[in-house]
């Protein structure tokens, strides 16, 4: 059944039609035109096509108009150029090599299929890269300032970094920030999600394979370690890696060398490793699911990503940065009203910054150009704001109970931690007192004026989510 669309432009109509037939036969949907002037560009976007097969050009000016239209989209599909263009290459079209792929004629179906598969992957990779914010984590809370300090500290060394934190806290953003600030920034950044790949395929993904290494290995293929040579590899969800794979990875970290699957040549590698997981690896070690020796190899410089609920003050800044980014990428613009922001500030954000980013993008799509009010937010975000006492207090309490009296293995920022406890307790007290400051002060054993001072210090007084009543 046809799925992806391919555009074929060839004034040699016999050849164009033949290529169209081959594409149909491969279950791909082909649009064949003799000249781009037959297309109504107003009704299309460059990304409507997965790839553009380019043959003879009939009208140079029409082609130039088409090319200009195409290049305006940075994520436009690649040109699969038929032999008459091979000699001139990408430059003639003002394209870089990444968007200009030679295609042989007569068509060899495996070559065409492989180019189209790569075009689809390229589209997904480019889109994903455009979604990861550049320049590192956003915000000015103490937690994010500390995070940025850690990133700056470790970036310029080749140290292995282990990034820990709940799902959606932006571990890849941190990894990319380290890479962008490192001497390896001109080398490749190769990311792989070890949890998303079936364990039997992971070895060949990481280390590559030789031709005939297993059924389906028709050609030799480089693995991600080879693709990352001279750069940085980001091993996400390392805690999901099987034990046999952990042994193989440990060897790479110790000896900086590996073999492709089915190969006996040892390949030396110069790759910086950044690993990440949302799991508690110490617990996994205790359960026998993670190797202790690998943990120590990875845990050279651990970075803990703060959950969003512990840096709610960053929310307005995060929302502003996300909406700007969406608008810049042409993915819609949206504004949030103050009360909508206040509602979001009260939400516990189990999915962290990723959940926030997806919500903002969804709002931008559903309310293009508009202002989102609190009541436009999906129900689950409003629930906590309407019954804040029940929703908030237990979280705050359990956080305090869990973190107060035990020093984590890699130390703690005491000032920040104390501040967080203070803010949580103040919030809880205010909520229990229905926002009446004098009552909340009693609950906390403080004078009213002292609490007012603290509210000012933490910027809590301005929060409309608290519904503060200054006097009782």
């Amino acid at each position: 059944m046809p799925e992806s669309r391919v555009l074929v432009v060839d004034s040699d109509t016999t050849r164009g039609e033949r290529i169209g037939t081959i594409l149909d036969f491969m279950d791909l949907n082909a649009t064949v035109v003799g000249c781009v002037s037959h297309l109504h560009l107003g009704r299309h976007q460059p990304q409507d096509w997965l790839a553009i097969v380019l043959g003879d050009i009939e009208q140079a000016d029409a082609w130039q108009t088409f090319l200009d239209w195409l290049r305006r989209d940075p994520l436009h599909p690649p040109l699969l150029a038929l032999p008459e263009h091979h000699l001139y290459g990408a430059e003639r079209f003002g394209l870089n090599d990444a968007n200009f792929w030679p295609l042989d004629f007569p068509i060899k179906q495996p070559q065409l299929a492989e180019l189209l598969r790569r075009a689809s992957i390229k589209r997904m990779d480019d889109t994903a890269r455009a979604e990861v914010p550049q320049g590192g984590p956003t915000g000015s809370s103490p937690a994010v300032q500390r995070l940025r300090r850690l990133i700056d500290q470790v970036a310029s060394f080749d140290t292995t970094v282990l990034i820990l934190g709940e799902s959606g806290t932006g571990k890849e953003v941190a990894a990319r920030a380290i890479y962008e600030r490192s001497a390896r920034r001109n080398g490749p950044f190769v990311a792989i999600n070890c949890g998303a790949i079936p364990s039997e395929l992971l070895e060949s993904e990481l280390f590559g394979h030789e031709k005939g290494a297993f059924t389906g290995a028709i050609t030799a293929r480089k693995g991600r370690f080879e693709l990352a040579e001279g750069g940085t590899i980001f091993l996400d969800e390392i805690g999901d890696m099987s034990l046999p794979m952990q042994v193989k990875l440990l060897r790479v970290l110790q000896e900086r060398s590996f073999e492709r699957v089915g190969g006996d040549t040892t390949i030396r590698c110069n790759v910086r490793v950044i690993a990440a997981t949302h799991r508690n690896l110490e617990e996994s070690i205790a359960k026998g699911a993670f190797r202790e020796d690998l943990f120590y190899r990875l845990n050279v410089f651990p970075i803990e990503m703060p959950p969003l609920r512990e840096r709610r003050d960053d929310l307005p800044e995060l929302v502003a940065s996300l909406t700007t980014q969406l608008a810049a990428a042409g993915r819609g613009s949206v504004r949030l009203s103050n009360e909508a922001l206040a509602v979001l500030k009260a939400y516990p954000w189990p999915g962290n910054v990723r959940e926030l980013a997806n919500l903002i993008e969804r709002l931008a799509v559903l309310h293009p150009g508009g202002t989102v009010r609190a009541r436009d937010l999906p129900a689950r975000y409003r629930v906590d704001a309407e019954i804040p006492v029940e929703a908030e207090a237990p979280t705050a309490e359990s956080e305090i109970m869990a973190g107060a009296d035990e020093l984590p293995a890699n130390g703690i920022d005491l000032k920040e931690h104390m501040a967080r406890i203070e803010v949580n307790l103040i919030r809880s007290a205010l909520e229990r007192a229905d926002g009446v400051v004098a009552h909340a002060a009693q609950l906390l054993g403080l004078r009213r004026t002292t609490l007012v001072e603290k509210l000012r210090k933490y910027g809590l007084g301005r929060d409309s989510d608290m519904n503060l009543t200054a006097e009782s």
Binding site: L28, L116, I121, G195, P378
Partner: protein, 127 residues
């Protein structure tokens, strides 16, 4: 078995019609609706509250990965299956990253989707 409600998302009528013809003969599958791109899929999912969304990967306007991410941002999101022409590690990785619950190859659609839907319908009946 309790019937499960399915939303079909694909930009090709031919594909949707073939799927409709097949599902018509299966008593425990109810096709709740259809959508022809990601944007429509988001609106229809909110409106129809299907149990499962069968989502094409490549579509004009908005593709299946972006739509999956944005549908998963709604309250109680459905189970989402990405159907892709290309089936390899990279495509599966991107689908998982977008938040899809399962991945099937379009070249082997019926053979892969039926056991998956049967399992979901079974789980729902026991829940």
């Amino acid at each position: 078995m309790t019937p499960i409600n399915v939303l079909l998302v694909d930009d090709h009528d031919g594909f949707i019609n073939a799927a409709l013809r097949h599902f018509r003969n299966v008593p425990w599958i109810v096709v709740a609706g259809r959508a022809s791109n990601g944007l429509e899929a988001i609106a229809r999912t909110e409106e129809l509250r299907p149990d499962v969304v069968l989502m094409d990967l490549a579509m004009p306007e908005m593709g299946g990965l972006q739509a999956t991410r944005l549908i998963k941002a709604q309250t109680d999101p459905p189970y989402i299956v990405i159907a892709s022409h290309f089936d390899d590690v990279e495509h599966r990785e991107h689908a998982a990253r977008a938040g899809a619950d399962a991945f099937i190859s379009k070249l082997n659609y019926v053979q892969e989707v039926m056991p998956l839907l049967a399992r979901l319908a079974g789980e729902q009946s026991h829940a």
